[in-house]
Symmetry: C2
Subunit: 434 residues, 2 copies
């Protein structure tokens, strides 16, 4: 049976998972693919630490360029992360005519054009299935399964750390800070959690999904990004009382010639499939013009789920190499640059959840609803909540308003005017609804 040689760059958590999986399932893969995929070399600066997977000593090296230039290696797998050395090595591998697999979302979100350009120029495959959704084949689905669809929208829960925190906030009624502490202790959140909880990890993934769906690169500065750092337990509780669960969603959506790419905490109705996605699990709901709503669910991170997708990509490349031809050199599927444009945040239409801490005096509610109406924001539901214990007798009560669809500019103008009317104790809370 013909062999395809694989070289890994990076022997961390995922690298060890890929090495283990390639060795453990080598036989079943060979039966499925008709080609023997062999792990030839692993490069890492640290080749002494035990990673819990047994590989021959000859397989380990500290010389990444030796792996890239090894004539027995046709597929180079980058699992270093970041945009420094990883970028250099990915470009070197592509320029050496090697097919590349990477799980590096930051690299693709920031330097996708350069990376894909190098793959194209060299006529080699680049696969990046594990860059979004870990063990969930969402990239594959967009590239292939739904290739015959106009993609109407994608709604994704793409960060396990945030989803874990939100699940515990809701289930146990805990405040954000306390759950974050626990998540850090349990290893579910980084020591510096900002990339996750401020939404940028999710935004990197949204950019990659948008490029696949709509064929052009979206720069990070055009993405509306709100994280969960400031989410109050009170709003999680009130959302639940209205029949909603708050999730950090990536939203990618087309409307005419405009595309929206945004990340924010979002109220999802309990009956929606995405509301059932809890703890560290991820999911993406994709609506195609033909397929209708489809959903993909699984573990969005972790050694083995990520390895599963990386190995699936390696398998695809092995099939391509057997056919003597690369299949995927581009990240983007459609070249729509210039035809589609990003919608400005002010023009994005959404339903809103608004919480206002209102002076408990006659007429306050009337003032607010009148102002909302004047700005074209119509009200779906409004409730004056019981006074939370800690603010008893403070003379303020929480009022929660769910709105019908309104433009960003409209709701913002209305809230500015409500603030100016002097009926509020603190800044209003504004969350989007799905």
């Amino acid at each position: 049976m013909k062999q395809i040689g694989v070289g890994l760059l990076g022997f961390g958590t995922v690298g060890a998972g890929v090495a283990d999986g390639l060795q453990r399932n080598r036989k079943v893969m060979a039966q499925r693919l008709g080609v023997d995929v062999v792990l030839k070399q692993i490069a890492d600066l640290d080749i002494a630490t035990d990673r819990g997977v047994s590989v021959g000593q000859a397989v380990l090296t500290t010389d990444a360029m030796a792996v890239i230039n090894d004539p027995e290696i046709q597929v180079v797998v980058e699992l270093i992360g970041g945009t420094g050395i990883a970028k250099k090595l990915v470009l070197a591998a592509l320029n050496a005519g090697k097919a590349v697999v990477t799980a590096n979302k930051k690299l693709l979100a920031e330097y996708g054009e350069e990376i894909f350009g190098a793959a194209e120029r060299n006529g080699v495959d680049i696969y990046f299935g594990a860059s979004v959704g870990g063990g969930i084949p969402i990239i594959r689905v967009l590239r292939e399964g739904l290739a015959g669809n106009e993609i109407q929208s994608i709604h994704g829960i793409l960060n396990g750390t945030c989803n874990y925190i939100l699940t515990r906030m809701e289930n146990e009624g805990l405040p954000f800070g306390e759950v974050l502490d626990a998540a850090q202790k349990a290893g579910y959140a980084e020591v510096d959690p900002s990339l996750d909880i401020d939404g940028f990890d999710t935004a990197h993934k949204a950019i990659i999904l948008a490029s696949l769906a709509y064929g052009f690169h979206v720069p990070m500065e055009k993405v509306l990004v709100e994280g969960i750092r400031n989410l109050a337990g009170l709003d999680v509780q009130y959302a639940a009382e209205f029949g909603y669960r708050i999730k950090l969603l990536a939203v990618v959506k087309r409307d005419g010639d405009e595309v929206e790419v945004r990340v924010h905490p979002t109220l999802v109705p309990l009956t929606h499939m995405l509301a059932s996605v809890s703890n560290v699990f991820n999911a993406a709901m994709v609506r195609g013009d033909l397929s209708g709503d489809t959903l993909y669910y699984g573990r969005g991170a972790g050694r083995e789920p990520t390895a599963s997708t990386v190995i699936g990509d390696i398998g695809d490349i092995a099939r391509n190499l057997m056919a003597g031809k690369s299949r995927y050199r581009r990240g983007v599927g459609v070249a729509n640059e210039g035809q589609l444009r990003m919608r400005a945040a002010d023009d994005i239409v959404s339903r809103y959840y608004v919480r206002l801490m209102v002076h408990d005096k006659a007429g306050s509610l009337g003032v607010m609803t009148t102002i909302l109406g004047q700005h074209g924001v119509s009200i779906l539901a409004a409730t004056q909540k019981a006074q939370p214990e800690e603010m008893e007798n403070a003379g303020y009560v929480p009022v929660v308003i769910l709105t019908h669809a309104a433009k960003g500019a409209e709701i913002d103008a209305a809230l500015r005017e409500i603030c100016a009317a002097g009926v509020l104790k603190e800044e209003p809370v504004k969350l989007r609804m799905i």
Copy 2:
């Protein structure tokens, strides 16, 4: 741009959807695939009826063989259904060297070996993504995305008619017959619904999934098949009270050298993702040794979702033809014939829900639990239910028992002995739990 010609056999609901989708999204597909996919010919006995999609008159023909033999057509799409003329035409197309796309689960479940053999012999692609799960790319995921995994289990809701009936039975407390009538009137169930409600449609799909996961053909007579025809509203209600929802599941599972393939109504905990799949939607949960649990959800039938998957398959073949090589000639991924064997129904281990209509006299419950224990069946929970209105004063009460995992042979022997003990008014009801 190079062209790939497509010929459709069958211009029914799905055929019209594929024709429409191919024309509507031709440009976006060309951009994504780098090849222009052109609908060349459609064969049907009836080319007069308006299908709500405009195709040139020259495209329509009553001569299926002319489509197969058209030198401008490289991909033949069979959407006739059944195992008569469809089988003949699929074999003719493969023997003429044409790649084939089919959505025909019955054909593959019954004659898969013959069809895949012909594709192999002729060195041409055969794709069948829409044969299981309609718009859900479950076949693609098993063939490609999870290719690096040992598949540990698949649990699927694969029949929209049954899921619609079960959803309404639970939500509205209606009996099976009444919902079936309504479903037939609404067009969600066939005039002869037996293929759906007796579980055989689901079993055909389970056979195809099993062949992809485990690499051998499972004959229908070795599949344990129970439908939902005899499901009582009372059990739907009791299951809900215990926190479960009843779904018709296809279960495909490996344990050592043994494989289980079965279809039956199953109690699924409300917290399980599959419990959230309602109405006509389908979903499959696949557990891989690396990926862990993953789930795929969407519309399992209908004109456009099915067309979405058929067109995705056509797109893949177009990519393959551009590379000058076929990729998928076999239905099965692994040749495990002889290494794996089917597990006998008696040896299948499951948790059970048992409802017994018991003589309302002292000692009855003791008799039953003793007998269960003697057969190695241990009890997780047991409740004596209030007497349903219609059997008031009849001297019988429903007792519901949830068991721990037990072998099929053990639970059956225990229930036989309980029947013989003369404490029951009617045959026991036995349902499996996930």
